[in-house]
Point group: C2
Chain length 333, copies 2
């Protein structure tokens, strides 16, 4: 890497702030950095509030630091202790990591515009890669579709579940299992963990949970391999792991499963291609809307919105008519 | 309402299924129905998995049924018992409601496309209004931006919080408080409820929680009125209520707060106008992307996506170049 393509720690913070603001100069810098082959492993970690994602990320970071890897944590979860919005206990738990120069911790502001924070986070990850971080963790709250779009940025997606979040563990399952590359039941120290584990194992069509061979024996670190048909799209078998992030039990097995997936996906470029296609679609969409709104003009847009509010026209009809009139008068002038 | 504009129970189910499929005939029917003035009150209910949204909705529905109102529940939450994905206990809790002809319960499938389910739910609500339902509840999981866009459909947004979801109550707060018209702390029977209530009261800049006058005295049903500056945008004061939906304590106070907000917003049409503008923007955006992808063609799109995946071009650069070439060659041919 030439000097011009290396991002210094000092530039890094400035660059990420620029991306959050939508700064053109920061954007140009990212375009240049993007032309380098990616070196870092991008890991998405998601799960419902209260599942212990942040504790797991901190525990994983300690494992990676012991292995000699540098780690960047990018949080787009407003509940994360990394973002500074958390209670004292969490901050203390993170404390020693924030003193380590081999660990970078940053939160991204969640903008109103859909896709906005996902695009900024994707670009921040490019900057972190150019700054030399080897593991880049992108932390999001699991539930909505916006999280799924952030998760599209990652090479490896870790979905964290926990017992005691009520009956709704079913729910998270519904949307989140489909995107998991590694599935973790956290808080294995709690008695209800076994039930959550069984539910997930059943959901993965395992039938009976199988004791795996990647982690230490016993409650934590157990890995089950569902049959390959679970992820027929690309053939990866999603491991199901039980950990207690708080007690640091089973965390090395999660790190190992992540490393296994990293190696696997390096040999399967389809996901990276689909991610690029998705990013292209999202950029097309936001550019198109911006251009259309510019051409329509605020006054005309507001007039049509008022007609919709007055129930003269359904918004889909208004959109179709508005576009037809704009294309006719605009493009060939 | 003329007969042609009345939707029979039989048509209703068919119409909603048509909307989920994106059926053109169903869409035309909605366009016609949209021209009627809305009569129903649209109520969005959102909150994290495990907060007890569904139990609260069931309890509210019982209150409204006792008051003689018909109720439709539209669930876009994959974890909801209304969608059929839930455990037996929940289904039993709902059981008697699903036998009541004055109650309509339907879940909407969550599509991959962003905005897809929100648009379909908006249209389903129009059909439910035309079918004569007086209260239409739209239930979503709280956290992501997609939920916030669904919440844009509602006249009144109820945000449900609960103790015992971990430290992350902070989190939900961050994104969700801004959209709440009525804020509910559920599971008031639990000892930790007081802490959750105080946290939220502080977040609303109440300082000290004030005992209100809308509900019965005591733990449940307490309403606090934060100072008006909390919602400076439109001046509504968000009530904070403590309930135990499971024990049906405090639920009438929630129904009352919702009714108060209904009356308030009828006198403040700005929100309905902003909602129409937002719907118009979203329809413009999805139509623009569809039209652009049609014009670009799959082969050309894939070629550009591959260039992005190969790191020749950042997706934002590719999108800009692709749009420039498409506009040049396409519109004046």
């Amino acid at each position: 890497m030439t000097n011009a393509l290396r991002v210094s720690p000092r530039e890094l913070a400035r660059l990420i702030s620029g991306l959050e603001r939508g700064d053109a100069e920061a954007q140009q810098r990212i375009f240049a950095l993007y032309r380098q082959p990616p070196r870092a492993h991008m890991i998405g970690v998601t799960g419902a509030p209260g599942c212990g994602k942040s504790t797991l990320i901190a525990a994983l970071t300690r494992v990676w630091r012991r292995q000699g890897s540098t780690v960047a944590i990018l949080s787009v979860d407003p509940s994360s202790p990394f973002t500074g919005g958390a209670i004292l206990g969490d901050r203390i738990r993170m404390g020693e990591l924030s003193q380590d120069p081999g660990v970078f911790i940053r939160s991204m502001a969640s903008r109103g515009a859909q896709g906005g924070v996902a695009q900024a986070a994707a670009d921040a990850a490019i900057a972190l890669d150019a700054a030399g971080f080897e593991r880049i963790v992108i932390e999001t709250v699991g539930a909505g579709q916006s999280d799924i779009s952030i998760v599209h940025l990652a090479d490896t997606v870790v979905v964290v579940e926990a017992p005691g979040l009520g009956d709704d563990i079913q729910a998270i399952k519904a949307g989140m299992l489909e995107i998991a590359d590694v599935l973790v039941v956290n808080k294995a120290d709690r008695p209800e963990a076994e039930a959550a584990f069984s539910t997930l194992a059943a959901a993965l069509e395992l039938g009976e949970a199988v004791t795996g061979h990647h982690g230490p024996a016993g409650v934590a670190g157990r890995i089950s391999m569902p049959p390959a048909h679970h992820r027929s799209a690309d053939g990866w078998r999603v491991p199901l792991l039980k950990v207690s992030a708080l007690r640091a039990e089973g965390v090395e097995a999660v790190a190992q499963a992540i490393a296994l997936h990293q190696r696997w996906q390096a040999a399967h470029p389809e996901r990276a291609q689909e991610r690029a296609a998705q990013a292209l679609r999202e950029h097309l969409q936001s550019m198109l809307l911006r251009a259309a709104l510019d051409r329509i003009g605020e006054q005309q847009f507001n007039a049509w919105a008022l007609r919709c509010a007055a129930r003269e026209l359904h918004p889909a009809e208004a959109a179709a008519q508005l576009l037809a009139s704009v294309v006719k008068e605009g493009d060939c002038a």
